[in-house]
């Protein structure tokens, strides 16, 4: 993860790295407001979206980002069912390498798969989500939105609410928020929380945490967690942890509501909240393109061999 050629997680980005990436993203977000939303920065470069998990949103976001930078984009989706009988991950990687691609954007259900790719390939590897491990571009785009909405982030409080244990979004988000000086709290039943972490407060009672937060980050709850016995029913979960208008009233007036998508309306978040002015979900999507442009540009653009982001 130390290599400067790849973006595997946010661990090795310090505050200055993050801020410079967000500044780059800001200038790209201005490009995206122009009538001709395209710059020639990565002309002649080839980016492959290698997706072992279905994800229309993230893949499209990376595809648009690369195209806005004039890179050539290939999409390669591998269904989970064909993994066992199909070509090995290593052979797929070596095939891409042999085609001379410049960057691989990888989404994989197994933690560490991007790390493996970074060991096998000379190309840049960008982690677009691996297992329960990391989702660094999501964390960066979330910070981009928060900077837009809240200005200075130092000292602000963000709560990740819901299935923190299985969430790569929360895992990378917590690290990124801490490194820009935000306070992180977690709200979830004990069965959906990771082990105790230093500097992170834990609340099982959402209503007690609500008034403390500048940001409420709602995580997607998956039905299979109920089947694993981590909570008794979606109804009970909804009663205890859904962000609805009633709860929103207890929150700070300027609270920002976020969600990585896709939302389960009526479960972790009510439809009214999803469309309330506090909600930043569409801003997250727009920021996604600009931030991913910044990441691609930082890794692939500029002079050969120059150091870029972590």
């Amino acid at each position: 993860m130390v290599e400067r050629r790849h973006l595997l997680d946010v661990d090795h980005l310090n505050r200055a790295d993050i801020e410079s990436l967000l500044d780059t993203a800001l200038s790209f977000s201005e490009v995206l407001k122009r009538p001709i939303k395209k710059v020639p920065s990565l002309r002649g470069k080839t980016v492959v979206n290698l997706f072992y998990e279905p994800s229309t949103r993230t893949r499209m976001s990376f595809e648009v980002a690369a195209k806005r930078l004039s890179a050539d984009v290939l999409n390669f989706s591998v269904s989970a069912s064909s993994v066992e009988k199909g070509e090995s991950f290593k052979d797929t990687a070596l095939t891409l390498e042999a085609m001379g691609i410049d960057a691989v954007v990888v989404r994989h259900p197994v933690a560490g798969a991007p790390w493996l790719l970074s060991r096998w390939l000379k190309a840049c590897v960008i982690n677009a989500g691996d297992g329960m491990h990391a989702h660094p571009t999501q964390a960066l785009l979330d910070l981009f939105v928060l900077r837009e909405r809240l200005g200075e982030l130092e000292g602000k409080t963000i709560a990740f609410v819901g299935d923190v244990l299985h969430s790569r979004v929360a895992r990378s988000g917590m690290k990124a928020c801490s490194s820009v000086g935000m306070k992180v709290i977690l709200v979830a039943p004990p069965t959906l929380l990771p082990l105790k972490l230093p500097h992170v407060d834990i609340y099982h009672d959402f209503d007690r945490a609500l008034p403390l937060c500048d940001v409420l980050y709602m995580l997607r709850i998956q039905k299979e967690r109920q089947e694993e016995g981590r909570f008794p029913s979606l109804e009970e979960y909804t009663r205890l942890y859904q962000l609805n208008m009633q709860r929103l009233r207890w929150a700070k007036s300027g609270v920002v509501v976020m969600h990585p998508g896709p939302m389960n309306r009526g479960v972790e978040i009510s439809s009214e909240v999803a469309e309330a002015p506090h909600a930043a979900m569409t801003a997250q999507v727009s920021a996604g393109v600009a931030v991913r442009m910044a990441v691609l540009f930082s890794l692939l653009g500029g002079a050969e061999g120059s150091e870029s982001i972590a």
Binding site: S88, K90, V110, A111, L116, D130, M132, H133, R171, L195
Partner: protein, 440 residues
């Protein structure tokens, strides 16, 4: 391999845990047996191994190896596995029955036993299944395996815990009829489900699913209760946690007929060594915390743990070189065991050489109730010449690609170690260890 009519091992420090011998002696081997011990035996034209500065021990016994035959001979075979044993100093090994098909019947264990004898490598003591087909539902024909030519004395569904407590109780009761040892793979699959590494700081950091120590401890506790109630000889395989060690210690104090083994990797590596997603460190039970590692070492010193066993588990490169969740659990261990244990425990002052040798010879023999002539005659005139000569001062680098095993999945690959196998002598025949291959 060279069958020698007469061989003189000169000047070694002879340490025999079976007889409490520790002195400098010359050892003469004739026609596969130790024919003479003495302070000074003249060479008289015999083949001589100059062993001054080396240690001569009875050949080691490994209670826990996976030789993959029948079914996965691409990963290991009797021939490659038993050659690896000799290269690692083991003159006898117990192979686990989780083969394809599993070793759950007398004809199969007999066939394996006879094939191994024909190879004239290390001795093989097959472990039989507890349950038919290793399915955990009904008992396998344990007594028929016991009374077969293979003389199976230990039974295990290793690879999986026996989750049906009623079946485990019956297995223990039944095994007392013929003195069988029940070897428990203590793992509650409901607690370990989908886990990849120890549940703790590393599972957290790497985003891998954790295996809680409780998955082991719950079953250790259950099996200790069952052994106490049935008075069956219970052996706990690859113990890895502090609480397991503590429960075993307490059970032994109460007189429960229990023994336990620990592996070199659990004694020398912890979850802290898993910096990245290198599947060479993926093993079950998982590498635990430093706190657990210390407790295991204390267990070696105070006798709570009776034996060191490698849980040698070869896998092909292509099986291991893939996404972490998809790679199989297991590390190879027979050819790295002594050098890593000596370097990591003895040289570092955590364990005496004498205790280490007990844990590799007389300790495991007691676990199985093995006695001469099957194993453990010791270094005495008339005994079978099953010996290992250890060179302790040599610094060298472990290379998994030089192993006789087909497995390369060794977490110690590339490590600098001190001490190793100079040669192993089995029935009087000399098999070179890595240090003799290197030209001494």
């Amino acid at each position: 391999m060279r069958a020698l009519p007469e061989l003189l091992i000169k000047g070694a420090r002879v340490i025999d845990p079976f007889r409490g011998v520790d002195e400098k002696l010359d050892v003469l081997v004739s026609r596969g047996r130790i024919s003479k011990l003495g302070r000074r035996i003249a060479a008289e034209g015999r083949e001589v191994i100059e062993a001054a500065g080396m240690v001569l021990s009875p050949g080691f016994l490994d209670l826990h190896v996976h030789l993959r035959e029948p079914g996965r001979e691409d990963a290991e075979s009797l021939e490659s596995g038993l050659s690896a044993a000799l290269r690692g100093g083991f003159t006898a090994v117990c192979c686990m029955p989780n083969t394809q098909p599993p070793l759950d019947n007398a004809p199969l264990v007999e066939a394996l036993h006879h094939k191994a004898r024909g190879l004239r490598l290390a001795d093989l003591f097959p472990v039989g299944c507890i349950s038919r087909g290793r399915q955990g539902r009904e008992l396998a024909e344990m007594a028929l395996m016991h009374f077969s030519d293979a003389a199976v004395r230990a039974f295990s569904d290793d690879g999986d815990g026996v989750t049906d407590s009623g079946l485990m109780r019956r297995a223990m009761e039944y095994a007392t009829a013929f003195g069988g040892v029940i070897v428990s793979h203590p793992e509650d699959p409901y607690l370990s489900a989908h886990g990849q590494v120890n549940e703790g700081s590393v599972s957290q950091r790497l985003g891998l699913r954790g295996i809680t120590p409780l998955a082991e401890e719950v079953m250790v506790a259950r099996d200790l209760l069952l052994a106490e109630a049935t008075d069956c000889r219970l052996h706990l395989a690859h113990v890895s946690t502090e609480r397991s060690v503590r429960m075993i210690r307490e059970a032994k104090e109460r007189g429960v007929p229990v023994s336990a083994e620990a592996t070199p990797h659990h004694l020398l590596l912890s979850e802290e060594d898993i910096e990245s997603y290198d599947t060479a460190y993926k093993v079950n039970p998982p590498l635990r915390s430093l706190h657990d590692l210390e407790a295991l070492r204390e267990g070696l010193r105070d006798g709570t743990i009776d034996a060191i066993a490698t849980d040698h588990a070869p896998h092909t490169l292509e099986e291991k070189e893939r996404e972490f969740d998809y790679a199989p659990f297991g590390v190879v261990g027979m050819e790295s065991a002594f050098p890593v244990l000596y370097s990591g425990l003895v040289v570092q002052g955590h364990l005496s050489l004498e205790r280490l040798l007990e844990l590799l010879t007389s300790g495991p023999a007691r676990v199985l109730g093995l006695e001469a002539p099957a194993y453990g005659e010791g270094i005495v005139e008339g005994a079978r010449a099953d010996l290992v000569l250890l060179q302790l001062d040599k610094e060298w680098v472990l290379d998994a690609f030089s192993f006789a095993s087909k497995g390369r999945n060794c977490p110690f690959h590339g490590r600098s170690v001190r001490g190793g196998i100079f040669c192993t002598i089995k029935n009087g025949a000399v098999f070179h260890g890595p240090l003799r291959e290197k030209g001494g």
